[in-house]
Amino acid sequence: MVVDFLHSHKAQLKVNRELYGEKVIHKCLYWWAARLSVDFDKDDTSFVITLSDPTESLNLKDVIASMKRDLIDFRTREIITDETKHIRAMLIAKAFANDDAFDENPPGGISDPTGFDPVKP
């Protein structure tokens, strides 16, 4: 992330598009938009975020430090959400499905050395 202070209450951030998805940036900015004026743009390689603090009450350096932290958190969230969306959908479908709609055989073997199968009489 390249940070360029335009003045003490205005800064431009360039975030590598290969590292963070647009959704991650937006989810992060959602939480800052209440306190800062945020402009969002992109060029070929970066997302360009311009932050300004109209109240001139925040320390922009601190803000940017926590924003970096948030970006990492939101990227982690995105990884988890993406990787688990199928299992989550399945979980909820199973949770609200009627009784045996998704029944499967239990995992693993169960016999003793003399032979036992709970399905057979």
């Binding site: 989810k27 959602y30 939480w31 800052w32 938009a33 209440a34 306190r35 990492i72 958190d73 939101f74 982690t76 969230r77 990884i79 988890i80 959400t81 990787e83 688990t84 969306k85 199928h86 299992i87 989550r88 399945m90 979980l91 909820i92 199973k94 949770a95 609200f96 998704f102 499967e104 995992p107 073997g109 016999s111 003793d112 050395p113 003399t114 032979g115 199968d117």
Partner: protein
């Protein structure tokens, strides 16, 4: 089935033999939230949590957790990671998920009947009942009350609560009496498990009223705001001392109905926010073993005055933490005293059971768990909805009691509201680590922000709940060993064994 060779089967094998074979673990759905400078809490899809060092979620996602770490076993056992894309125990997780959401199964349980807007008090924060005591047109009509009760019995829920509110409902005791008797008559056919509650200021009891309450095991829910000076300042009553009257009322009701039939709720005002300790002490002095440190209701105040609301939220959070700290100290000294809001959240965090508290659930409690029949025959989604209506906003009016059940409970309005009642799909909530323990409140967000969905960063609902839940985790992290027995005793509502 191929049989294992007996000799090999009975030969003891080392732990490594029982380790599942896989190269890299798979993630299961979970979220996380920072709880202090060092720790974050990981919360899985069914609400199980682990408090871990900050950065752990990132390490998990980047497959950085090693098998020989103790954390690895915890993550596995608590369904954060798995050795298969679909874990062998997915059915157990699904059952847990269904259980957590099972407050939905039975649909509406709490039916609030505003039997009268009349009141003998003129509390300045009251949004609804500024009507003098003698104007009968503010009582619900017997006809509307009848229709409302008939709707109540159309709810699929096997157990229902019929709650009488006002105004002061006991000023229209004939309505309460008719309501209880008619409900009991219908219940001879429906055989539901039915609880009656009267929310009263406890200043208008007569022998007849208390006899009736005793006969039908009606629970008295009254208002006590704390010490005399505070209660009286909050609840002016012309020519009488409200505090002494409510204490007399509480004692009288306890004597006739039994201790556990009488509960008290406090209403928080700006003035109350200065006196958390005094309020708690007052509850203890008056023989209560619990208190609900409620936030200031924004309804009726300049709802859209966000600065004032924010100020109240900040003050309230201080008030709550100070009060909670004091209550915890009391418990550590052996006094059994419960803070109700913390307990609601603890139940969500520490138990696998559904917690149906209408102001903090997802899907929201509105319609799903509560409905309000107003004195004028209109039906509202929540208690707050009818307060908005008193201010001229009928957004959450579901219909009239004379409409049919489907159109009220499953009608266009209900369907519209359903878009906004699950925090799983709200911006800001969808990714929040505390989502499982929180709720959605479209009525609040509509009222405060003019938007059913709401904007979380400035939402007082979000600021308040996020901070309270974070604070509870922070307590569990810093003092968990000492607090768990106390919190368990709150959850189970019984003094702890010492």
């Amino acid at each position: 089935m191929e049989l294992p060779i007996a000799k090999d089967f009975r030969k003891f094998k080392g732990p490594e033999f029982y380790e599942a074979e896989f190269s890299e673990y798979f993630l299961l759905p979970f979220k996380f939230h920072r709880i202090n400078d060092e720790k974050e809490v990981l919360v899985n899809e069914v609400g199980d949590f682990l408090i871990v060092p900050i950065g752990t979620a990132r390490r998990i996602a980047s497959r950085d957790i090693q098998k020989d770490e103790l954390l690895y076993e915890d993550l596995f056992a608590n369904s954060f990671i798995s050795n298969k894309p679909i874990p062998d125990l997915i059915d157990v997780l699904a059952t847990r998920y269904r259980t957590k959401k099972s407050f939905l199964d039975d649909f509406t349980a709490l039916h609030i009947f505003v039997v009268s807007l009349r009141c003998n008090h003129s509390c300045h924060y009251c949004q609804v009942s500024r009507v003098s005591e003698n104007r009968q047109e503010f009582d619900i009509s017997i006809e509307d009350l009848t229709s409302g009760i008939e709707h109540m019995f159309r709810s699929p829920s096997p157990s229902i609560t019929m709650e009488f509110q006002g105004g002061e409902p006991l000023l229209a005791f004939d309505r309460v009496k008719f309501g209880v008797e008619y409900a009991l008559k219908l219940n001879e056919t429906f055989k539901k498990d039915i609880t009656f509650v009267v929310c009263t200021n406890a200043t208008v009891f007569t022998d007849e009223i208390l006899e009736f309450c005793k006969e039908h095991q009606i629970i008295i829910s009254t208002s006590l705001d704390g010490p005399e000076f505070l209660h009286n300042a909050n609840r002016p009553k012309s020519g009488a001392k409200s505090y002494q009257m409510v204490i007399d009322g509480i004692n009288r009701a306890r004597n006739q109905l039994g201790e556990d039939q009488v509960s008290a709720l406090m209403t928080t005002t700006s003035l109350s926010l200065e006196y958390p300790i005094e309020i708690i002490d007052n509850y203890i002095e008056n023989g209560f073993s619990n208190i609900f440190l409620r936030p200031i209701s924004p309804y009726g105040f300049a709802l859209k005055n966000s600065k004032k609301n924010r100020y109240h939220t900040e003050k309230y959070l201080e008030f709550y933490k100070k009060g909670l700290k004091y209550i915890i100290e009391l418990n550590k000294q052996g006094v059994f005293f419960v803070e109700d809001y913390t307990t609601i959240i603890l139940k969500k965090i520490l138990t696998p059971f559904p917690v149906s508290y209408v102001d903090l659930q997802s899907p929201a409690g509105m319609i799903n768990n509560v409905v309000v029949f107003n004195y004028d025959g209109y039906v509202y989604a929540t208690d707050e909805s009818r307060m908005l209506a008193e201010q001229g906003d009928f957004t959450f009016r579901l219909g009239h009691v004379k409409d049919n059940y489907r159109s009220i409970f499953y009608g266009e309005k209900a369907r519209f509201l359903s878009q906004y009642w699950s925090n799983e799909s709200l911006a800001g909530c969808a990714d929040c680590g505390l989502q499982s323990y929180c709720g959605a409140d479209p009525v609040f967000h509509y009222a405060a922000q003019g938007d059913f969905e709401g904007y979380r960063p400035t939402s007082d609902f979000c600021i308040k709940n996020m901070e309270i839940i974070r604070h509870i985790f922070d307590l569990l992290d810093s003092d968990g060993k000492a607090l768990m027995p106390i919190f368990n005793s709150w959850i189970n509502n019984r003094p702890r064994y010492q």
